[in-house]
Amino acid sequence: MDYNWDWGVFFRETTFEPGEIYLDWFIYGLGWTIAIALVGWAIALLLGSLLGVLRTVPNRWLSGIATVYVEIFRNVPLLVQLFIWYFLIPDLLPEPLQQWYKLDLSPAASAYLSVVICLGLFTAARVCELVRTGIQALPKGQSSTALALGFRLPQIYRQVLLPQAFRIIIPPLTSEFLNIFKNSSVASLIGLMELLAQTRQTAEFTANLFEAFILTTLIYFSLNMSLMLLMRYVEKKVAVPGLIAMGGK
């Protein structure tokens, strides 16, 4: 069981297709990872903001619904949620949809659909809590003032509360954004060939386990760093003059 280090492994041809090198696998994998994370994030941001607003509206029913959502999606492991979306929910769909999901879609497409919905809804619960804390961190006078000016509730959220709340929560929102990239790796457990699955496959085909995992670690690390820089840029871009730390009381 001797180990032969060989960093050239990434440029060797794969045993599957002529002309395809192992590095290509990583690139395809990264493509899937990004595709899952970005679409999942779009769902999470939209739904999470909506839920976050609902948690703060002066209506018991609406805020109750949002609270129940958050508790459920935060207290069930991600993997269980993924299995539910991938194995269970399709069986509960009406016949034509089930047909479409199981037969018309390619295996990769149906796995992708499940994992994107799963991660989107899972992350929405976290985004919801951030939006809620952001809104609640604002001085109460802000909404009274907006009311006194004659704004209606939806306008108060859109014009006054959300623009401020989102600025406050950019840092924790960034780490949620990074989390969805990391969490997308669970897709490998339902057979979607994203980055981690490609890494595992490379390790198994080439016996160059360490090189493969080190490369993937570096890819995640640089992805993390570049997204962090991007978000820092965004934060600077939307910063309000005269306010160094908003809501930082």
Binding site: S185, L209, F213
Partner: protein, 221 residues
């Protein structure tokens, strides 16, 4: 939906749950221990040590836990051979536990570091004025206060770890989720067993986070 076969399978699932709980408790203990060490290194005046600890934390915080689990599972046989020079069989449990400890340590480190930094500097001065060494002032004065402050956060992170132990499914370890799944498959009722597993995870996590919130309020007074 037919949940009637579940009672018969409870003993087997309890076995799985024991593994889950064991993994969680050992992972938290090891993670806090290693994480505290990392935090002390990060705060130390030795630039090299602080740099290494910072690099470690940054790397582990930017990669998926699942990657660490799978990597360690595949790598342990090699590493042990390098160290011991002979084939030493260790199971998936040991490799997973190592993965959890090393991964969670990065997160615990940040909690502990914030906890230590929240203690006023005057406390260190006071301890040193009493003639305590750096180690003594940390052990006797700073850490006890810091841990008290960060207990809620440490517990919250532990609940996350409890949920994340289900990822050992990826290396075939029979934890609670995996046991429930395989039993359900055997009996031909995977959906019911999956729902049951989700419900159990939910109840435990929900109850635990309520407790933590309660504790947080009491500690805040």
């Amino acid at each position: 939906m037919d949940f009637s076969p579940i009672p018969n399978e409870l003993p087997a699932m309890w076995e799985g749950m024991q593994l889950t709980l064991k993994m969680t408790v050992l992972g938290v203990l090891g993670g806090v221990l290693f994480g505290t060490l990392l935090a002390l290194l990060r705060l130390s005046h030795n630039r090299l040590l602080a740099g290494i600890a910072t690099g470690y934390v940054n790397i582990f915080r930017s990669i998926p836990l699942l990657l660490v689990i799978i990597w360690f599972y595949l790598a342990v046989p090699f590493v042990l051979r390098w160290i011991t020079g002979a084939d030493t069989p260790v199971g998936a449990f040991a490799s997973c536990l190592t993965a959890f400890i090393m991964f969670e340590a990065a997160f615990f480190c940040e909690i502990v570091r914030a906890g230590i930094q929240s203690i006023p500097r005057g406390q260190v001065s006071a301890a040193q004025a009493l003639g305590m060494s750096y180690g003594q002032s940390m052990r006797l004065v700073i850490l006890p206060q810091a841990f008290r402050k960060m207990t809620p956060l440490l517990l919250q992170q532990s609940i996350i770890l409890f949920q994340d132990t289900s990822l050992v499914y990826s290396v075939g370890l029979m934890d609670f989720l995996n046991t429930a799944r395989s039993r359900g498959d055997n009996i031909g009722q995977p959906h019911e067993f999956l729902i049951f597993a989700g419900l159990v995870y939910f109840l435990i996590s929900f109850a635990a986070s309520r407790l933590v919130k309660h504790l947080q309020k009491r500690l805040a007074v």
